[in-house]
């Protein structure tokens, strides 16, 4: 079994409208690189020029915000589901 990434609407043009993408990466940082290899251009949408996840992007592993885990170092195991969600919502 691998891990799944849920792609938000604004990025689906880059994934040929694929909503759920399977990956093999072992951490969130690696997952971003793997996505970039498969869908060129996706990484710059998600991280800034310092390599940090953009201010307006929230990343979750199994519904937990990675800022409550280990940010980019957050480990991934088989069956994990990663969600990328625009931070600007609610309130």
């Amino acid at each position: 079994m691998s891990k799944k990434v849920r792609i938000p609407t604004p990025l689906r043009k880059l994934t040929n409208n694929e909503e759920l993408v399977e990956i093999n990466a072992a951490t969130i940082g690696e997952a971003l690189i793997e996505l970039q290899t498969r869908f060129p251009g996706i990484q710059e949408r998600l991280v800034d020029d310092k390599g940090e996840v953009r201010r307006f992007v929230n990343v979750y592993v199994n519904e937990e915000d990675i800022r409550f885990l280990k940010n980019r170092e957050t480990p991934l195991k088989d069956g994990d589901e990663i969600s990328i969600i625009p931070a600007i919502a609610g309130g």
Binding site: R45, R54, G91
Partner: protein
């Protein structure tokens, strides 16, 4: 309205139901033609219109006339001399959205804009992620507009707030989790169903409704911005929009630029923005909320970054108060001014007290406190904390005995 524009990179998008930039995920905001608005929107024109927030129609993002919530807004700006004395400040006003129409919170402002715009865009189902007040307002306004509604709330909300959505026939979905989890789920649902989520895909229009609170305050003060405005912060959106509201009035020539300061109030049990502000940071660390101020319990505030920016730029500050301080402030406002605010109002009054005591708001100045919701909806929070009625038989003798007892206690 000219277009939707990314606040970060400036890219423009058509005026549709969309809320983030495809390139950097920055928030989209409505862009206006202020030069054109300036020509027609005069003080006289505004004053000749009905007393609702729609008297500032040109500065609100709908294309035609409002079709949902035409009577919302223009709530009282109450001069509060007794509270001013208690807090030790020269002059104080309470902007009282606890009596907003129809659901007794400032959310009626944003919802009437969002649903009017949703109808313009052809939606038939509306939805929201809410800590309570927003759900009430979406439910009520959708009912009167003949729209179908889904409201998503954390399952631990006050009973009053849950009932206040159910009564209108809305589909109320309780989520086992805190608001940030409700919000994340709604962002995913909004991407999947073709609904108008007022604070997700309709957020650029929705959020603009909050500006009307600033327009009203300025007009009610005789066309000037107050020196200090104290605003409760959940997502931080209201604070940024009150600032924008004052700035726009300057831009279209309705008030002078007096450099108003905008202060933020949070509950200590959920204070990501005020903690960052006091530490001098321009970013916040998300938290897991634990406070009686459930309407403000957002641990990952969408506009936290911009709220910090406004406070920095206006040279203002933020602070937070504990659950006990919130209850005491609710009582203080009620006992001095006869206004029963919900927990968020207790937060704002409590923080105003701290900011004045610490000198961050000077004693010899004038301030406006924004009360955004009604105490009748959060009775659970003060139950058992405001005394008990005394019971007697219908007998004059018993009443006289009770009074005599009381005089003895007070002597």
């Amino acid at each position: 309205m000219k277009a939707l524009k990314c606040r970060e990179c400036g890219r423009e998008y058509p005026l549709e139901a969309t809320h983030v930039c495809e390139f950097d995920f920055g928030p989209l905001e409505v862009a206006y033609d202020y030069e054109r608005i300036k020509k027609s929107l005069t003080r006289a024109a505004i004053e000749s219109r009905p007393k609702t927030m729609w008297r500032y129609r040109e500065l609100l993002p709908i294309a035609g006339e409002p079709t949902v919530g035409p009577l919302v807004g223009f709530t009282p700006l109450v001069k509060a001399p007794r509270l001013a004395k208690a807090l030790g400040i020269r002059e104080l006003y309470v902007k009282n959205d606890a009596v907003n129409y129809p659901t007794l919170s400032f959310k009626d402002r944003v919802v009437s804009v969002a649903l009017s715009r949703a109808k313009e865009l052809g939606f038939e189902t509306v939805a929201c992620a809410s800590t309570g007040n927003l759900a009430n307002s979406v439910a009520a306004n959708a009912a009167s507009a003949g729209l179908k509604s889904y409201v998503f709330i954390p399952s631990d909300l006050e009973q009053g707030k849950i009932l206040n959505s159910l009564i209108y026939g809305a589909n109320v979905i309780c989520i086992k989790g805190h608001y940030d989890e409700v919000n994340r789920l709604c962002a995913e649902i909004a991407g999947k169903f073709g609904w108008a989520f007022v604070n997700v895909n309709m957020r650029p229009y929705y959020a603009e409704g909050s500006k009307s609170m600033a327009y009203e305050i300025a007009e009610q003060l005789g066309w000037r911005a107050p020196q200090h405005t104290i605003v409760p912060m959940a997502s931080g959106s209201l604070l940024t929009k009150i600032h924008k509201g004052y700035q726009e009035l300057v831009k279209v020539g309705l008030i002078a630029d007096s450099q108003p300061k905008i202060y933020g109030a949070q509950a200590t049990g959920c204070s990501p923005i005020s903690t960052a502000q006091r530490a001098g940071l321009d970013f916040f660390k998300p938290v897991k909320p634990d406070t009686i101020a459930k309407s403000l319990a957002i641990g990952t505030p969408a506009d936290g970054f911009y709220a910090l920016k406004v406070m920095r730029e206006t040279n203002a500050a933020a602070d937070d108060v504990t659950d006990d301080e919130i209850r005491n402030a609710i009582k203080l406002l009620a006992e001095t001014e006869g206004i029963f605010a919900e927990t968020a109002g207790g937060v704002t009054v409590g923080v105003a007290k701290k900011l004045i005591a610490s000198g961050k708001i000077p004693r010899d100045s004038s301030a406006v406190i924004c009360v955004t919701g009604n105490g009748l909806k959060t009775l659970d929070a003060v139950q058992g904390h405001c005394g008990k009625p005394r019971e007697i038989k219908p007998s004059l003798r018993e009443f006289e005995a009770l009074l005599a007892q009381e005089e003895k206690v007070n002597a």
